[in-house]
């Protein structure tokens, strides 16, 4: 047997075992579950609602003003602190994104038919979103990222949240039924995390 094929089969088995171990990990946060159930009435507490404050804190003119008036040391310290705020904000935005995505998954689970293309599309989009967030996260950590990227992300997520809320209101009773069903399944043996 060719050495390459020999290693290939061993590699495949290792990959399968790793993927299986990953699939058995507990969901990271149960908090997210509560966010799904309260999606309809929890919008006031979404992270995107703090976007203007974070944008203000990240504004370039602010940094220039500080450097002029307070000196370089102060400007550097403030920039470092603001970067930490931006990182925390990015994490929070990601949480918002995944909560919305979870709601879509819950609806898929409770639907008698799902459209494969829509489901694949969502997987692709969430992978893309994760990748881009990781990149922005890395650049923020290295001090390279422009804050415009973050505010752009906020704008879009904010728009998304507004749309979702409108859709939720429109769906009214049906969406509430989805949440109640998910909750009842959860209580009866924990099938959906």
């Amino acid at each position: 047997m060719n050495v390459i094929y020999f290693l290939l089969f061993i590699g495949l088995v290792l990959l399968l075992l790793l993927a299986f171990a990953w699939s058995l990990r507990k969901p990271e946060k149960n908090k997210g579950r509560m966010d799904i159930l309260n999606a309809g009435d929890d919008c006031e507490r979404r992270h995107v609602t703090y976007m203007p404050q974070v944008q203000q804190a990240l504004a370039g003119s602010d940094a220039e003003f500080l450097a002029k008036r307070g000196g370089r040391a102060l400007a550097r310290r403030v920039e470092r602190e603001r970067r930490l705020v931006a990182l925390a904000y990015l994490t929070a935005l990601r949480e918002d994104f995944y909560n919305i995505q979870r709601l879509a998954k819950a609806i898929a689970i409770l639907s008698p038919e799902v459209i494969a293309l829509q489901e694949f599309e969502r997987v692709r989009l969430s992978l893309e979103f994760s990748w881009r967030c990781q990149m922005i996260h890395a650049r923020l950590l290295l001090g390279l990222a422009a804050t415009r990227q973050l505010s752009g992300l906020s704008d879009r997520l904010s728009g998304l949240t507004v749309q979702i809320e409108a859709a939720m209101r429109e769906l009214g009773e049906r969406a509430a039924l989805a949440a109640r069903l998910a909750s009842s399944l959860d209580r009866r043996g924990g099938d959906i995390a």
Binding site: R132, S184, D191
Partner: protein, 262 residues
């Protein structure tokens, strides 16, 4: 000191005892109603042992007819195992009608691709053609189990302990069979005596895992509940995807602008 052949015999006897114990447990706990394919598989394993015992006594271990019978029963057992995996898939996702309709198509397609790939990637040693076929089937079974659990994880469906442990047992058995057959193909002569021994050891270990799985308290069976109207999905999910797509496009354009500026 015991030789490998004698250890094989003891292990074989031990595996038959373990299979009979598991079969009895399935009957006593009436688990055969919940897991009919699994029950048939264990029954098949016991029958295989009986057939092989009779065959070896009648025609001797090294005769061609014994070799043929052994392989026919072995491949039949692997096919039965594939049916058990289908049963596990249905237990885990069956009650979510929409997701299940999507899942079984994905699982069947991926299993087919893996099967064809594994057959294609196998060597062309005619003596090992059945071993290679078995390895391809095992790899398809293993990948189906993994994709099933990854799928469930994506939709945040938590399997109950019994299903998870049964799945683990079948995955380990299939993965071990792939490794065992791969080593056999690579080191034919030196590995032959160990091949049966390790195969029996792995099987005994998995019978213990399955026994453990079925001893776990069974979660209350949840039947398919009332589902949402298809309109909810049609109205809501494409809208979410559209917004997610535009969010990603916006991020992508930011990324490009940043790259161009530097």
């Amino acid at each position: 000191m015991l030789g490998i052949a004698e250890i094989d015999n003891y292990l074989w006897a031990a595996s038959v005892v373990a299979e009979l114990a598991l079969l009895s447990s399935l009957i006593v706990r009436r688990d055969y109603r919940e897991y009919p394919a699994f029950f048939t598989y264990i029954l098949g394993a016991v029958l295989q042992a009986v057939i092989l015992f009779a065959t070896y006594r009648h025609w001797s271990y090294s005769s061609l007819i014994s070799w043929r019978i052994a392989w026919i029963t072995q491949i039949s057992l692997v096919v039965l195992r594939a049916l058990v995996v289908t049963e596990i898939c249905h237990h885990l996702l069956g009650r979510y009608r929409g997701v299940w309709a999507l899942a079984w198509r994905i699982l069947l397609t991926s299993a087919g691709i893996v099967l064809l790939y594994a057959i294609g990637a196998s060597g062309h040693n005619t003596l090992l053609i059945l071993t290679n076929l078995q390895r391809a089937l095992e790899l398809a079974i293993a990948s189906t189990i993994v994709i099933l659990f990854v799928f469930a994880r994506y939709y945040e469906i938590v399997p109950d302990n019994a299903i998870r442990t049964l799945g683990l047992g079948f995955l380990l058995l299939s993965c071990f069979a792939v490794l065992n057959d791969t080593f056999l193909e690579r080191f034919v002569d030196r590995y032959v005596p160990l091949w049966t021994l390790l195969d029996l050891l792995a099987f005994c270990g998995c019978v213990v895992i399955w026994g453990w799985a079925l001893r776990q308290p069974r979660a209350e069976k949840v039947h398919e509940g009332p589902l949402l109207s298809p309109d909810v999905y049609a109205a809501f999910v494409p809208e979410v995807n559209l917004r997610l797509r535009s969010l990603n496009e916006r991020l992508s354009s930011f990324w490009k602008v940043e790259a161009e500026q530097r």
